[in-house]
Every structure is written in C-alpha cells, then in structure tokens.
C-alpha cells in the first residue's frame, strides 16, 4: 500500500514496555504494569503528533434498555475529571482545545470508542496526561450529565431527520435477532432519554481500563521520548481482569427475506436492500465492497446506468461498516416520482443477475485499482492514518492494515460472482421501504 519505509529502530530503552511486534513502520508495545497497548509510527519533520486512544467498547456491549450508553459516555469524557475539579477549571480536554487550538474529538462505533488529539509536538505530555486522567477519573454527575443528554437527543434528532438513517435503524433491528449490531450506535431515543448516571458509571468503571485500550502515537516524536512519557503517565492506572471477555454471539440463521417499512410526512421514497456480509477485514468483507462498487459506485456502475441515468431513481448509494462480526451492508435507492417500490425491487433483482462472470471480468481490475488508490489518498496526514488504523485495532489485528492491497489483489471473478449471489440470497436480505405520505 505504501512505499517501503526507511528502517527505524523499534528497540525501546524503557524497561516498562515489551515489544509485541513490528510490521513495516508501525510497532506495538505493551505497558507491563497494566496491559495498555501502544502503537507507534514515526513521521519526522511535520512538527505534528496525533494521539488516538481506542477502547474496545461500543454499541455491541450495550444491553437492551441502555442502547447508546457507550456513545453517551463518550460525550461525558469531555466533562471535568477529579483533577480538574481540584484545580477549579474546565475539563482538561476542552481546556486544551480552548487554550491551544488542538484538533480534538471522539467517536463511538459498534466495536469501539475512540478519542483523539492532533497537536504541535510541544503538547505531547499534556495530551497524554488528559487521556490518562479521563480514563479513570471523569466525574459523572447530573449537573454535567443532564445538559449533555439533551445535546445527544439533539444529535439523535439531527440523524433521525435523514430518511436513510431512519431506515437504517429499522433495517438493523430487523436483520439481527440476537446480535447487538441490531441497534445503531447512538441508540434508541427512549433509551437515551431514560438512562441514569449510575448506569454510565458502571459502564465507565468496567470498560475504561488500560488493558482494554490501545494508544496510537503517530507523528513527529522519537520512540524513546514517546514511550518514556507514556510509561510515566499511564503506569499507575489499574487494569480490570474481566474486561477482555467479550461474549461471542452467534446470530441465528436467517430463513427468508425480512421486510420493514417506515411511513413519514415528506416527499422522499427509498427502497433499501440490507445484505449480511462477513466482518472486517476479511476477504469476504472486501468482496462485498467490490460487489457494491460494481453495482452502485460511479457513473459506469450497473445501477447508476439503469436506474439513475434512466430517471427511475434520483440516487443510488451504499453503506458498509468496518465491524468485527458479520454485519449488514445497505444499498439505498432513492426513487423518482415516476416509479414504485415494487417495480424497483423487481428491477434491481434482475439487474443483480447481470453481474455475470463476463461483466465482472471486464470491471473487477479497475474496481480493485480504484480501491487501492482510495486507501492511499486516505492516508494523507497523521490524523487520517490514525483514523484508518483505528478500524483495524477495533477488530483485533492492527497488522491487517498493511494487508489490504494483498487481500484485494487475491479477489477473483469467482469470488465476486459467488459473493453477489450470497448477498442477495433470502438468507441474507432485509428489504426496507421508506414511504412519504
């Protein structure tokens, strides 16, 4: 994927760390005292560092009635810590941005929650100190929680006003009977409106532990300087013995096409095909991506030509998440006023059958080349590299970050043909209808 990196020393002088492995220009270490993982990549000469702390906790770890709690907790990590209250100032993270202008944010997904800062090298110690303090010491009380809850409800309403999102929520819930991927990360509105600080605190106490976290350090800092500071700042934090146990959930076999319908005021009409596919970053995940590209990505794709260019649809889009377990990818077709959901469903099923070996042979190589190039464009800055690496960390094997090109180049015409058949089989499909009244 990238040019062969220059050889760099991966030997840390720090006795606090053990080197786990080095792949290309990224090395993984573990802090012996508490199990914190550290990924280090040196980008000299930029004057910029991105630190990214990813916890293996996300929407999948939520029980019924508490959906969205992982995301809510993410918001609370921007509230004051015990140390901030002693020092009588705003939350350390907010203060960092408001004094210095660093880039900071966080996001929660199905398998993980991620916090990041991008900043001038001189602020490295400060960034680490904030992450260490808020890993264990955020004060979760109603004074801070109640206004933040309404912000999250505002965020929910922002997403929910989008018909595609609303349909996605129902598609997930219909496609999965047992697996917790059956709810969107932000959760259900009623759950957000009802959970308590006690629930947040329990979640926080259990999952926000060094042995459930990976700290990525990407940028203009020497290895020994970086590890020495990480050791000094994180060493005292306690690990949690039970945190690494995440239940394996085997979704029951689907026995026929599932359907869901939403009716709302407005003018938008959407037909969606949600298809079950293997988890990221398996070959099956990339095959699914390539099938979706051939079907709906770019003006030369099958559905763009047959639905959008003919005026039957206003747009055709796809979504596919980088999740560890089997999940759904969704093909959304926004209908024009000239047609109906039923007609488009029949037409799409017919068009999928035009994804023949001959068609695939003609177009697969370009789809792969395009995907590999997109990967390179996406690795444009320390912030972008950390963001992409995060998805690999969340699935348990960051080293696969370097295998994307190899995986893609191994995909054959037969793989794509078979994958397309599996995606559109009755044992995979959930069909969503969004109607306006």
């Amino acid at each position: 994927m990238s040019k062969k990196p220059k050889t760099v020393s991966t030997q840390s002088k720090s006795k606090q760390f053990k080197l786990i492995k080095t792949v290309e220009d990224i090395s993984e270490y573990v802090l012996k005292s508490n199990g914190l993982r550290v990924l280090y990549k040196h980008i000299p000469g930029t004057g910029v560092i991105t630190t990214n702390l990813t916890y293996l906790v996300g929407a999948r770890d939520e029980a019924p009635g508490e959906t969205g709690v992982a995301h809510m907790l993410e918001h609370m990590l921007f509230k004051p810590t015990k140390q901030d209250l002693v020092n009588k100032h705003d939350s350390g993270a907010m203060k960092f941005e408001r004094e210095v202008g660093v880039v900071l944010n966080a996001n929660t997904w199905k398998d993980r929650t991620t916090y990041y800062f991008s900043y001038d090298v001189q602020h490295f110690t400060r960034a680490l100190t904030i992450e260490a303090e808020r890993m264990r010491d955020v004060v979760i009380n109603d004074k801070e929680f109640q206004p933040e809850r309404t912000n999250v409800l505002s965020e929910f309403d922002m997403y929910n006003g989008d018909p595609h999102f609303a349909l996605s929520v129902d598609l997930c819930a219909t496609a999965f009977h047992s697996h917790p991927y059956g709810h969107e990360t932000i959760g259900f509105r009623n759950d957000i409106a009802s959970y308590t600080t006690e629930k947040l605190q329990r979640f926080y106490n259990h999952y926000y532990r060094p042995n459930n976290a990976t700290l990525m350090i990407i940028g203009d800092i020497e290895l020994n300087t970086a590890l020495t500071e990480v050791g000094r700042i994180f060493e005292h934090l306690e690990s949690e013995p039970g945190v690494e146990i995440r239940p394996v959930i085997d979704e029951p076999t689907q026995e026929g096409t599932r359907r869901v319908e939403i009716v709302r005021p407005g003018t938008t009409n959407i037909l969606a095909f949600a298809m079950k596919h293997p988890g990221f970053p398996s070959a099956g995940w990339f095959e699914t991506m390539l099938v979706l590209k051939l079907l709906a990505d770019g003006p030369e794709s099958i559905l763009q030509k047959k639905l959008v260019d003919t005026g039957l649809a206003a747009s055709v889009t796809v979504s596919q998440e980088q999740t560890k377990d089997e999940n759904i990818a969704t093909l959304f077709i926004t209908l024009s006023s000239k047609t109906t959901h039923a007609k488009i469903e029949t037409l799409v099923r017919d068009l999928v059958s035009t994804l023949t070996p001959e068609y695939i042979k003609k177009n697969l190589k370009n789809a792969i080349t395009k995907t590999i190039s997109e990967e390179i464009y996406n690795r444009d800055s320390s912030l972008d590299i950390a963001a992409e690496l995060t998805e690999y960390v969340a699935t348990g094997d960051w080293a696969k970050y370097f295998e994307t090109e190899k995986t893609l180049k191994a995909v054959t015409i037969k793989h794509i043909h078979e994958r397309a058949k599996q995606l559109f089989a009755d044992t995979s499909l959930t069909i969503g209808v969004y109607k306006s009244k």
């Binding site: 408001r98 006023s337 395009k370």
Partner: protein
C-alpha cells in the same frame, strides 16, 4: 512544504511542493459569473455534469474507466458561479492522469444523449433537494440579505426546476468557450515531478485569457430584525441560519478584526467558540452551533452567519440564547484572555493544516481563488497576531448588529411559527 504563488497573465498559479509525496492534486477554479439567474445556476450544474460525460474519443463510461484504471479521481463541481475542477492522482500515474484532464478540458463532446440524461437526473436531484432544510435555510438567509443581482442570492429547488428545460446544448457549449477564455486559478500539490507535469499541462491548455468581468454584490438595506420561515415537514430539527451582510472585503482594514471576533463567538468546528460553550455545553440546547464569514474575497463583500439547529420545543429558547451571545459580544466585546487564547488557537490551526497535503492545497487554492497570493494570505494572518482588543471590539460593534439581522429557519416550523415570528423587529 514549499509553497509559491504567482499571478500570471492567463492564470494565477499555486505550487505546493511536498518532498516524496505519493499523491498529487490539481485544483482549477474559474469564475464564470455573468448574471445571477435561476437559468444560469441550472446551466452551471448541467455543464459540470456534461464536462465529465465524454471527451475526445472517450464516451462517458470509457472516460470513467480510464480514470479508474489509473486510480485517478477527476471531479467537476459548481458553487456560486465558480466552476471547480479537481484531480487526485497517484504520483506514479500523474502523466496519464493529466492527459485525461487535458482531453476533458479541451475536447468535451457534449453529446445530445448525455445532455438529455443530465437534464433528467438534475430534475430528480432537485426534487429530492426540497427536503434539504439546512441548505434552504442558508439560501433564504442570503436572499433576505442580498439583491437578486448578487452572486450570493440563491434559488430554491422549485425555482430551478421551473427553468431546467430552458437550457440548451448551445448554452452549454457557449459556457465552455467562456470557461476556456476566463481567468483561471490553478493549484498543483505533490512532489516536484508532479508540479512540473501539472504546470506543463496547464501551459498547453491555457493559451488565452480575457479580463475578468467585474462582479457586483448589492446588499439589501435591512433596518430591523427579520424572520424567514420555510416548512420541511419530514425533519425532526429546525435548521437555522442567522446572520447579516457586511461591507467588508479581505482588503478592508477591519476585516481581520471582524473575522477574529466572529471566531471568538463561534469558531467553525470544535468546541472553542462562546456559542459552543454556552448554548451547547452549559444549556444543552443543540449538538452544534458555529459562526463564520462567507463569500468575502479581495474584491467582493459577503455576510456573516451562525449555523445551528434546535428541536422545535427548544427553538425559541435556543434563538434567545444565541441572540444573547451575539448581543453580549457586540456590546461588550471580547476579553483580554480571549484575545490571547484565540491568537494561539488560530496559529495552531494553521500549523496543523500542514500535516496534510490535501488540506494545504485546498487552503492555498481557496485563498488564491479569493484573490490572495500565499504571501498576501500570510500577511492577512499576521494581522491576527497583531490585533488589539480595541480593534476587534470596534469591528464587532460596527458590523455585528443583533437588532438588524436575519433569522432564517427551515424544518417543521408550522407549529412554532408564532414563537419564531416574535423575534422579528
């Protein structure tokens, strides 16, 4: 990164050199503004589609396949009568990528069948955009601030739909001739070899130019607070654009001071602005609330705008809080501590930009298209560091008038219409 900009007779050129860059980027912007009509807006959108729909011996599909084969992205977009062409290529593929760009710019085929397709797809897209509450709120804000002749004045989806069929293929071909003749702004980013190849292609394509047509912006003379409402019943939140026109260009003496003050009020992105720390963080009324100036160049004036959204039940409370913050900063100004903090914040945000080649290319290009060379932009940014509290507060007092602004709201407004109208002066 090594950045140089020059204003040549045929084009303004920025070269952003990053040693060893694996990728290369070219941005071309051309100002084709002649008159502000719905027809011209539609013409520009159709043209941006058709320019990518066949060139030389390539059909639309063949051209796209040729790009995909190289892993190259070529994209044409339009906004406010500016045509923007972008190319992203791997450094190793820059020569064939540039050949594709060249043929697209010099030999577009503009086939009738593609024209028919572009019209059809545009009509469908416009029908869908009736539910784009955020975009509609901004358009209606601009329309309440500017006369129709101004570039900033926009058109709603139904106004555009009404004129789609009046555009002809001859109009498209005329626009293309104008585009080739107009003055271009071009930025090339990447390794040295990519810059050389990009410049060479540019010189072969661009061999003549006419002087840019003077562009006029005419703000309306509003004298009281105005409320504009638009119902989009499918949305959950009410989208708001709140703002006013400002008689400032990038060369006006208090332009930097006003931008600085507006950043203190609601710096776009992040959490550092006053609006984010009060309306969002303390009061919990919205997920995001930001402020900035828009449409301002070296020669054109523009407007300032707050972008936010509230739940219908909170909208009156949210607007009250927002106006409270606008009034406070306009009347009392910023503090000494904010002056120091935001000098640091603005300095940092620029330093972080250089971590990314694409963001740097976009920054340099955006400023060059607005009329600022890199040296001029740096001089503009230096003004931020030299500003005094008095200068910032005077600029805010002069140009931020809470009693004479426009509140534009789009979303489920019918049931809160009465509450919203109360904000009118």
């Amino acid at each position: 990164m090594n950045i140089t900009t020059t204003k040549e007779s045929l084009f303004a050129l920025a070269l952003i050199e990053k040693e060893g860059a694996e990728t290369a980027y070219i941005n071309i912007s051309v100002d084709c503004f002649a008159e502000n009509t719905a027809k011209q807006t539609v013409l520009f959108v159709l043209y941006s589609d058709l320019l990518q729909s066949g060139a030389g011996s390539y059909t639309r599909d063949e051209f796209q396949r040729a790009c995909d084969e190289l892993g190259t992205n070529i994209c044409v977009t339009t906004a406010d009568s500016l045509m923007n062409v972008t190319l992203a290529s791997l450094a190793t593929k820059i020569t064939p990528s540039l050949k594709l760009l060249e043929v697209m710019l010099t030999k577009p085929t503009f086939k009738p069948a593609e024209f028919k397709r572009a019209v059809l797809t545009l009509k469908n897209a416009l029908e869908q955009s009736r539910e784009n509450a955020r975009g509609i709120a901004q358009t209606l804000l601009k329309n309440a601030l500017f006369e129709k002749m101004s570039r900033q004045y926009g058109f709603l989806p139904d106004e555009l739909l009404a004129v789609v069929d009046t555009v002809t293929l001859a109009d498209i071909k005329n626009l293309h001739r104008e585009l080739l003749l107009a003055y271009w702004t071009v930025s090339v980013g990447g390794a040295k070899k990519s810059l050389t190849a990009g410049t060479k292609m540019l010189n072969s394509v661009k061999n003549s130019s006419i002087s840019p047509v003077p562009v006029y912006t005419k703000a309306k003379t509003n004298t009281r607070r105005t409320v504009v409402l638009h119902e989009v019943k499918s949305k959950q939140n009410i989208e708001l654009s709140i703002g006013g026109s400002i008689p400032l260009t990038l060369q006006t003496p208090d332009s930097a001071a006003f931008s600085f003050g507006l950043a203190v009020l609601g710096k776009w992105g992040g959490f550092s602005g006053r609006l984010m720390s009060t309306v969002r963080e303390k009061e919990g009324l919205t997920y995001g609330i930001y402020a900035k100036t828009e449409g301002i160049t070296v020669s054109e004036t523009g407007y300032w705008r707050i972008m936010t959204f509230f739940a219908p039940k909170d909208v009156a409370k949210g607007i009250t809080s927002t106006l409270r913050e606008v009034t406070a900063i306009a009347e009392k100004g910023i503090t000494d501590s904010e002056l120091l903090r935001f000098k640091t914040i603005l300095k940092t945000s620029e330093a972080l930009m250089f971590d990314s080649l694409t963001r740097t290319v976009n920054l340099v290009h955006g400023n060059l298209a607005a009329g600022l060379t890199w040296d001029e932009y740096q001089a503009f940014r230096k003004q931020f560091q030299a500003l005094t509290k008095k200068e910032v507060n005077l600029a805010l007092k002069n140009h931020l008038d809470p009693k004479n602004l426009v509140i534009s709201a789009a979303g489920p407004v019918v049931n809160v219409k009465g509450d919203l109208q109360k904000f009118a002066g």
